[in-house]
């Protein structure tokens, strides 16, 4: 039998990792691992290597890493990586939480799933050793229960099969159905079930039940009981497996379950399901067909429980991921809807030049603007911003549009409009939503702009006569804050050349990669530089300036502009 220890000292430079990989993969194959396994071992070692470079050495590429590789042919391979870095806090080495799909954090998950044992050994003064070991399949010495079960080749085969197949089943129901079937056969029991903990309600739920008596399945399936009751409650609290040979005599036996199902429990085998330190439920077998459960049964069930727990956790995480994916699709439709809500063309208002645009953020935003021609040479303009993003905000924008449209048919008096809009936002299902809203009516004959402002960023006004830009700060808080409120109304006479710039806070708040904000100063300066420009030119210049400021940093909020200018 070939045994060999080899050493390699190498700089912690990612570009050298291919050398290490070659070394490990060939040694693994020599130890007797098949090509696939050798690839996996190589991946684990590579991840450990890059982890040292990234975390321990903080990308200081000149530092050394000492590799010691030992293998016994047809038995196992052991690889140690030693560094000179500051000792690690072992508790900080985290396995990737599979519930989150995000870049990074996968390396430790790889190492721990591939290798049979992984030890992190901080050295006393300086340096760390990570020691990983992988056994050939047929010789892997498991924990004690596995040693026991080696006596029973059938059981061992079943355990290995469960270990290999379960983690790949990501649909929780399919997974649990398979688990109870396997457990029932393996334990030679009348029934088996998976009881899951509903953390929010602190109840245990019979999630999946298999029993020779169909009636029991019907009655137990979905049955809930308090998580601190009965033998199950005890198992959950102590986190220790338990078998009860004479259930009825056990003081902890919670008769509620038997009573409500008409089942008769003689002996029970319970083992806790836990992921890391978190209890997630119980795996149980009921009434052994031939006699009573013994220690070997309990050990076998405990051996399965670890894999079962991880598989349940994976399946749940996967469901969450799929939900996220579905949600992203929904958001996409919502953002299409948002765009459809905005006007497709500009209004034709005698004596007034208009320009407007909404550049939506990647998420569904809540910006809104609209125009409405009214009777007697009057034109209505509205701009608003619903707090928050996502579906709710998108819905609110749609509601705003139809509410405003309906309201203007009845009355376009500004106080009526403001009151109706406030009631709509206040009464919306989601109370936390607020909306800024600026509403104006322009009288073409008189060249008068009358408006009310509910919390929308103060418009900029250019008075052609004194060539000054100033903020029109008249206005109050957003819609939806108070149940009824009378918003004050203001009027101004527009002179030829006067310009009115309305914008959403996505302009002012636009950030670059240094988290600097575009801000009022830069906005003001840009406006000042737009001498004699038309509303459309001003609008384009603002957007361009904001984009230049942000460079490629993507917009987190909609950017909306509406520019009105009285013709010269």
């Amino acid at each position: 039998m070939l045994q060999e220890t080899m050493r390699l000292e190498i700089s912690g430079n990612p570009r050298l990792s291919c050398l290490l990989r070659k070394f490990v993969s060939q040694a693994s194959e020599m130890a007797g691992f098949c090509e696939n396994e050798a690839n996996m071992i190589t991946l684990a070692v590579d991840e450990a290597f890059t982890n040292i470079i990234r975390h321990t050495y903080q990308m200081d590429l000149g530092k050394r890493i000492y590799v010691r590789l030992f293998f016994t042919e047809n038995d196992h391979i052991e690889i140690e990586l030693k560094d000179d870095g500051p000792p690690l806090e072992v508790a900080n080495i985290k396995n990737r939480c599979l519930e989150e799909i995000r870049p990074g954090g996968l390396g430790v998950h790889f190492i721990q799933s591939i290798m049979d044992t992984v030890e992190y050994l901080p050295q006393e003064t300086m340096g760390n050793v990570v020691r990983m070991r992988k056994y050939l399949k047929n010789v892997r010495p498991g924990s004690k229960p596995m040693e026991e079960t080696r006596k029973n080749p059938q059981l061992l085969a079943a355990l290995l099969e469960i270990g290999q197949s379960l983690p790949w089943i990501l649909d929780l129901d399919t997974l649990l159905n398979l688990i109870v079937k396997r457990v029932k056969n393996l334990m030679e029991s009348e029934g088996a079930s998976v009881i899951l903990l509903d953390e929010a309600r602190q109840e245990l739920v019979f999630h999946t039940v298999l029993d020779e008596d169909e009636n029991i399945v019907k009655k137990l399936q979905g049955l809930r009981f308090p998580a601190n009751k009965g033998i199950a409650g005890r198992v959950l609290q102590t986190r220790k497996p338990l078998f009860v040979r004479n259930v009825e005599k056990d003081p902890d036996h919670f008769k509620g379950v038997d009573e409500s199902t008409g089942s008769h429990t003689e002996s029970l085998l319970y083992t806790p399901l836990q992921v890391r330190d978190r209890a997630i439920g119980i795996l149980s077998a009921k009434n052994k067909k031939d006699g009573l459960f013994d220690d070997a049964d309990m050990e076998a069930l405990t051996a399965i429980a670890g894999t079962v727990s991880l598989s349940i956790d994976n399946a749940r995480a996967h469901t969450k991921l799929l939900d996220t994916k579905r949600m992203q699709k929904e958001l996409h439709s919502a953002s299409l809807m948002h765009r459809a809500t905005l006007p497709q063309s500009l209004p034709d208002v005698p004596g007034l030049l208009t320009s407007a645009i909404c550049v939506p953020a990647t998420e569904v935003g809540g910006d809104y603007y609209d125009f409405f021609p009214l009777a007697d040479g009057l034109h209505a303009f509205a701009i608003g911003d619903v707090s928050g993003h996502g579906l709710e905000a998108g819905m609110m924008v749609s509601m705003t549009r139809s509410c405003l449209y309906t309201q203007l048919h009845f009355s376009h008096k500004i106080e009526d409009v403001m009151q109706a809009m406030n009631r709509m936002v206040y009464g919306s299902v989601e109370r936390r939503l607020m909306m800024t809203f600026f509403f104006a009516i322009y009288d073409c004959q008189e060249s008068v702009l009358t408006f009310a402002n509910a919390g929308h960023p103060s418009p900029y006004y250019y008075a052609a006569r004194d060539r000054q830009w100033k903020l029109i700060e008249e206005g109050e808080f957003p819609l939806g804050v108070r149940e009824s409120h009378v918003y004050p109304i203001y009027s101004m006479q527009l002179q030829p050349g006067d310009i009115f710039v309305l914008y959403s806070d996505g302009i002012i708040e636009a950030a670059n990669s240094h988290r600097d904000r575009y801000g009022f100063d830069r906005f003001h300066n840009l406006l000042v530089s737009q001498n004699m420009a038309s509303p459309k030119e001003i609008q384009d210049a603002i957007l361009r300036d904001v984009e230049n400021f942000c460079e490629n940093f993507s917009a987190s909020d909609d950017r909306t502009l509406m520019v009105l200018g009285r013709k010269l």
Partner: protein
Amino acid sequence: MNPKGIEIQTRQTPDMALVIPVGEVDMSSSTQLRDILMGILRQKKETVIVSLEEVDYIDSSGLATLIEGFQKTVHYGGTFKLIINKPKIMDVFKLARLNRIFDIFESREAAGVKIV
């Protein structure tokens, strides 16, 4: 094994981009892949396909890059596809349980690549 890292080929049409890294995607080369991928994503291509047909090795930093690409593409409403025809590359995706998250195809035809 290419000690010089990877070479990345790209083919593009107005609505589709095909990215073909050639070699080993590891910590030292995944930044290269990331740069190219992010450049393409900024153009918001409707379909972004990364073919791993010519990749011999991929590690967690490579996967992280692809996850980022996937997330950004879905975010702007695009479609992100992977082509994987080697079991050893697929094994790494399975280990990370990412095989059901990505849309994975065995060949360019199956992925609907219309670029020659």
